[in-house]
Symmetry: C2
């Protein structure tokens, strides 16, 4: 019998408290586990996934049948499907996390103080992490591997539409943990699709240290509103590119095209382009030509529409919209002050870029724009854990506290003070 | 007319929203203010406080008269009083904060990635900080100076019993800000004693980035429960010292005495002493003798009481009590596992120390004890921002996220990613 199914789920609150209690106990063990053992568990997961491809695809098939019976959209069914390339990607992801350096126990800043004590910081796991996500079953493996590597216990609550897939993956994770000599309860997959489970997970602060929701904006907003446990969250990605009058215009055209068209559905995609008035007449038609080749709809301010007959007039709402689609809002502004004022008002705090050759303006933009990533002469599409060298990413935080921007292993840890003395007492 | 009194306070929600709106606008300005200008404002505050001692003592006198009329306890009246030494300490505190390095704008970890972009972290202000505190008016200056130095705007809500003192200090702060060319709204003292102001402050997440409550446990618990803005908080300090069998017993006796008796009312004072059974008979009577000289009441487990006839029997509640008084709970345990299990169950996550000469046990204790400060062979009384070299302290966080342990200027900042490219686009 699998570890994941061993508790009665009829009383959801009692069931979730049970998971919480087990996770807390497992987290105490996980704090002191060697890197080697954690890596062995990750490698075993990869091996078991590889060996049980057929069983996984079969379990996923149940989910797909139910999804089609429930008239889920093609896009949702597609996200739900476990295909051979997706299973390959899961295995590769596990290998990547195995290869990452273990952040736990790293000590820095150890310095002697005038009193004679030596004080530093040690990086340690957060404890218990609750992760709530929607249909994509590969998130189960991704989240489990990052929590495990960072020495945390976790409780994973996937979407009900992926229940059979997640159950099968949960069994593999449990087996791998046990084979590595770790508590199976270090990673627990919630075995009920009752929505009350989420309500309990996000409020049982005695058992859970942080909640990471991954999914649509409404899911995240609801969880943030109701949680009594700290949430690492990411709502919108309304990213801006500002082309300053001194910009290298070839560079500006390339970056604007890349930031908008490289992928439409990602949170680091540019949604609004701001152009300094003196170069608008020269650069806008060139950008419009590139965007037209990708069938991107342009919604502009009045001045933009005057220069681009093909643009439609943007409404006030456009400046606050994350399109996640081949649509771009464009506004002509008078200088960096106006650009930064627009960003201050409309940005979601995710990622903004300036294209400029002016040293002072580049410095101002970097210092003053209050977003999780601020860039000079680069595409907003680089705002990503892999591109930043984190090795893996559990999400992108647009919060200011704790983790900001792409969240990797470090974001799943905290630091405590360590003090070494030789009998020191306070005078 | 002073800046602090310029808005109508009859509609508390509208008034607080107004303060929030002004603070948010000021925070945009504060982000880019030079260290020199911030220091000038701090020095001007110090000068104005020095020049207006009489006026401050007079304003404080109003509060003291009202406090006595309202039958406040002597302890509360004492905390409220602005005496000459306390005014000197305020001025000295301002000088210390002026001398601290400015954390804002510090960039670290700037490295090239395989794509060619260069990625690093820049330290930036949090934005708007709301601080809620009880009677001590010196907190007004302390909090204002730390928020100002770290480039944040702040809204300060002191206790109603210190209303006149805080108003007078608020006027000095406003004047100093204006004289340095900064917005007076960068530091706003809430001008109403209506409790609804707190309710609004902790829920207006569009204007406030973080709340720091300073005061009694019930105040902090209430704020944590009701806040919709992240809270940096510190509830109890139930600190433990564990004397291992290999400890240098002279050292153990000195540290136990210091950790308990150096000051009783502080959160880093030892509340429970754990002693490894093999050395209990030898070390306990020596510690008891020292504590008896300070009139410390000892409450022990059964084994402790068998060794110390003067000890009273501890109840289950004692292990979870922050005495803040000359009382110590004592328990004899069998080895480090039992000691760490006791700490895991009863600690508030503030500070724990082990006294040992055993290398492996010291390493285990440091790695496995999950508190904001973990020490070897040093008194828990060292857990303090000044002792740790932070230069100043806005509080001690027993939370795990963001700031943990003593919180100084760094805890009032966050880090954003900065990316430098030369026209890089994502492939």
């Amino acid at each position: 019998m699998s570890e994941q199914g061993k508790y009665d789920t009829t009383d959801v609150v009692a069931y979730m408290n049970r998971l919480g209690h087990e996770a807390r106990a497992a987290s105490v063990v996980m704090r002191r586990v060697d890197s080697g053992i954690k890596n062995r568990a990750l490698q075993t997961m990869a091996r078991l996934i590889d060996e049980r491809r057929d069983a996984l695809i079969e379990a996923n098939g149940e989910d797909l049948v139910r999804a089609r019976a429930n008239d889920l959209s093609d896009a949702m069914v597609d996200r739900l499907a476990l295909t051979t390339p997706r299973i390959d990607a899961m295995i590769e992801g596990l290998e990547q996390v195995t290869a990452l350096p273990d952040p736990v126990g790293e000590v820095d800043g150890l310095r002697y103080r005038p009193s004679g004590i030596q004080v530093g910081h040690m990086r340690v796991p957060l404890g218990v992490i609750g992760i709530i996500f929607e249909s994509r079953p590969n998130v189960t493996i991704e989240a489990a591997s990052l929590c495990l590597k960072s020495g945390n216990a976790c409780i994973l609550r996937g979407g009900s539409e992926a229940a059979a897939s997640n159950r099968a993956l949960g069994e593999i994770i449990s087996e791998a943990l046990i084979m590595a000599g770790l508590p199976a309860t270090a990673v627990q997959v919630v075995a009920t699709t009752d929505r009350a489970a989420v309500g309990q997970l996000i409020t049982m602060s005695e058992f859970v240290d942080v909640i990471i929701p991954r999914g649509g904006k409404s899911l995240i907003a609801r969880i943030s509103r109701d949680a009594r446990v700290p949430v690492i969250k990411h709502l919108d990605g309304i990213c801006h590119v500002y082309i300053d009058a001194t910009a290298d215009l070839d560079m500006a055209v390339n970056i604007a095209e890349n930031a908008k068209t490289h992928r439409y559905g990602t949170c680091n995609t540019m949604e609004t382009l701001l152009i300094d008035a003196p170069v608008a007449a020269e650069v806008l038609p060139r950008i419009a030509e590139r965007l037209a080749a990708h069938d991107v709809e342009m919604r502009g301010c009045e001045r933009t529409c005057a220069l681009l007959p093909q643009a439609v007039t943007a409404s006030a709402e456009d400046w606050d919209t994350e399109y996640l689609a081949p649509i771009l809002a464009i506004r002509i502004v008078d200088g960096i002050e106006a650009a930064m004022a627009h960003i201050e008002r409309h940005s979601s705090g995710h990622t903004e870029a300036i294209i400029t050759e002016n040293y002072s303006l580049a410095r101002r933009f970097m210092a003053e724009v209050d977003s999780s990533s601020v860039m000079v002469n680069a595409s907003t599409r680089f705002a990503d854990g892999f591109e930043y060298g984190l090795g893996a990413e559990i999400g992108i935080s647009t919060d200011k506290l704790h983790a900001r921007g792409p969240v990797g292993l470090e974001g799943l840890t905290t630091r405590k003070y360590v003090v070494f003395g030789e009998g020191h007492i306070r005078q």
